[in-house]
Symmetry: C2
């Protein structure tokens, strides 16, 4: 059978991994796909380096337009990243009737609707397994494996850099800045780690998962995003004492009022499997109404794990290329004419549980004042811990875990608590999910 011919845009870490894995496992992959898959053309600004990586096997150019316009290319892999050239070339490839595979979560989370619409009109596939959680086939699980289910929520550790940092902070009791430097030294964090540590990368991925789980458009701009830069070692320690771990979770949840889409540090019961995902590993829990909870775990980044997802998409396209377009897996899991218009809720309307840390003067009546404010706000307390003041100290910490309540309710209560003369400074608020 005719081989599938692939053009590659950008041969950096993931591109090189894709080229190498395709070559190393070409026989095994062809035995699965029923035809050979070959990269016939590579575009990279650094032509010389690209040539060194691919040898004489395929054409190397510096202009991606030559790839997306080439008549022999069936599928274009976009591994350039960002929103500029990448978007332009993806749209051109689609316009030329080529299928697209991309790992570019930033592009899809912000311009996905435009791209998928163009692909739909042209009858081509845009596959993006590599855009979420690297080598874990989570897009496939959501779009295909769990089609029987009304998906209720998704919660994922979908950024390896921040999970590595949080694991180290917990293991060593170190603070954020120290561990970040260590992570950069070891190559787990980039020189400019902003997108990772501020939660933006996780929010891109959570946005994509929310779309395919609930059949809504991608709405990155409505995601609530908090990173881990303000997280203090003391809260990791207190959480541990109360039986919880703190993870940066990407959460997408369906409620009757709308969709919650949020990324923030989250307390999770230590006994949950996902609480035990350490280092740079990723994991996603999906709650479906029929299947219950399922969890998917693996490497969320890196050259060959990401290449694994890119190539799985190539094989899928090789298989589905001759199915009637309306029978292929829809880009966003649901048929484009039957998307839901459930709104994304503002964070004030999100309902969850909370961890509150108050720094207080160790005086009679503090606790009574605080608990009566909570009671007035109809916030019920799940657990409370008051630390003994250190020797010679007159200040101490009170930790409160609340039951579920609305964010705006907790914010109002915190304002009142902070106004108490015995409460010193700001209240630290973290969100808590039982994931059950």
């Amino acid at each position: 059978m005719k081989s599938i011919k692939v053009g590659l845009l950008g041969i950096g870490t993931v591109g090189a991994g894709t080229f190498n894995v395709l070559k190393r496992n070409q026989e095994e992959i062809a035995r699965r796909a029923g035809r050979a898959i070959e990269i016939v053309m590579v575009a990279d600004l650094n032509e010389e380096r690209a040539r060194q990586l691919v040898g004489e096997q395929c054409e190397v150019v510096s202009d991606g337009n030559l790839v997306v316009n080439h008549p022999d290319v069936d599928i274009v892999i976009e591994l350039i990243g960002g929103y500029g050239v990448a978007k332009d070339l993806v749209l051109k490839a689609i316009a030329n009737g080529k299928h697209v595979v991309t790992a570019n979560k930033a592009l899809l989370a912000t311009h996905g609707d435009e791209i998928f619409k163009a692909a739909q009109a042209k009858g081509v596939m845009v596959a993006y397994e590599a855009a979420v959680a690297g080598g874990i086939p989570i897009i496939k699980a959501l779009r295909e494996g769990l089609t029987a289910n009304r998906i209720e929520w998704i919660a994922g550790i979908i950024n390896g850099t921040t999970n590595f940092i949080l694991s180290e902070m917990r293991d060593k009791g170190s603070d954020f800045d120290t561990v970040l430097k260590e992570a950069q030294r070891l190559g787990y964090a980039e020189a400019d780690p902003t997108f990772d540590i501020e939660g933006v990368d996780a929010a891109h991925k959570a946005t994509l998962m929310s779309a395919i789980a609930f059949g809504i458009p991608v709405q990155f701009e409505k995601a609530h995003i908090e990173g881990i830069t303000k997280l203090e070692a003391v809260d990791i320690r207190y959480a541990e004492q109360l039986g919880y771990r703190i993870k940066l979770l990407g959460i997408a949840k369906r409620t009757e009022q709308g969709i919650e889409l949020r990324v923030h540090p989250t307390l999770i019961p230590s006994k949950r499997l996902i609480a035990n995902v350490e280092g740079a590993m990723n994991a996603v829990v999906v709650q479906g109404d029929a299947v219950g909870p399922t969890l998917y775990y693996g490497k969320g980044a890196g050259s060959e794990p990401t290449a694994s997802a890119v190539i799985a998409d190539l094989v899928d396209i090789a298989r589905l290329a001759d199915a009637q377009p309306e029978h292929r897996v829809p880009h966003l899991a649901f048929q484009p004419h039957s998307m839901s218009d459930l709104p994304i809720l503002p964070i004030a309307e999100v309902t969850t549980s909370y961890y509150l840390r108050l720094h207080v003067a160790d005086k009679l009546g503090v606790l009574a004042n605080v608990t009566s404010i909570l009671a007035e706000s109809t916030i019920s307390v799940d657990a409370m811990m008051q630390k003994e003041p250190a020797l010679g100290e007159t200040q101490t910490d009170i930790i409160i875990l609340t039951h579920q309540t609305q964010e705006k309710n907790v914010e109002a209560a915190i304002k009142k608590i902070e106004a108490l003369p015995t409460v010193l400074g700001k209240v630290t608020k973290l969100r808590l999910e039982h994931l059950s």
Copy 2:
């Protein structure tokens, strides 16, 4: 678009779940599949009960032949179980050009090659996501999500009954018989639990996974199978002290000599995620050369979790029905003309690590005798633990963890060790996998 019409053979627990989930989520499923999926006909020996379950919505018959011969039926779901009627009806459905969805691991692990060959010749699909690990989309992950990879090994907790029993034995320190009775009372074990506790059910599932991971025929008859009936509480306790948990694993591993296919109680390091899978839950770890380890976790049995997998197969078939047959996902992941003839290795040629428990007379020189036998057999020791004899006792236990060696090598050493006059009774041997 025309709806897909389904005939259901057997409406017991899973059949009822399938009917109910399809009905409850019909709108959401149709939004994904692009067409409605409807059960139009149900066959069950207990017609009255079937009628009560499905109401007036679809035809109920007692003879499955009426379903597999019905011209309106596009897909037949086989949920009868066993090898007799089920096999006959599946083959008839295929002969009539109908696609088949089945949860019947026993049937596929023993007669899969015949069934898949018939399906291939007729150009129909036989889907079986529900046959392994219930609602976890592990078949999809192996056949589609990890197509880039040379799969190195798979290790899974793929029988909920035995995992529940092992979790309880560990938690409560109880012995097997006590916990089995408890499991039967709670509905986690059947009245005749033989297939579960003797490892047969897990071996059916491991056989299917070995076929799709390595591109080999199903060869259940060559699987090495040990259940948990002989496992003693004392070994669970000693394993725990050494940092291990004991799980009944289904293992399929590729080596240069051949394929290891085995089910047996296995020590796993406690810190591995899969070691922390408790109760009736299932989990499978897959090691691919590109992606590294990935893990899939969820409910491995039950009405709606299994229905989730059955319905995902229905949606897949609805999508792929009009793809060219040779482009659909091959039944056993690899194209039928390119299967591998790697042999399944006999257990004597399997290579792994071992846990040995020796009951010995507490006399000088015992340990020296044992270790010199191991050294002569070129079995190197990874860890050793000698318990103090209880007060007034003159006998005690020695626990040895070995490095990797061949089974026949360890068996020969055990024979020599058992011949020592200071070693009392039989040596207990368990296998140990680091899963790294």
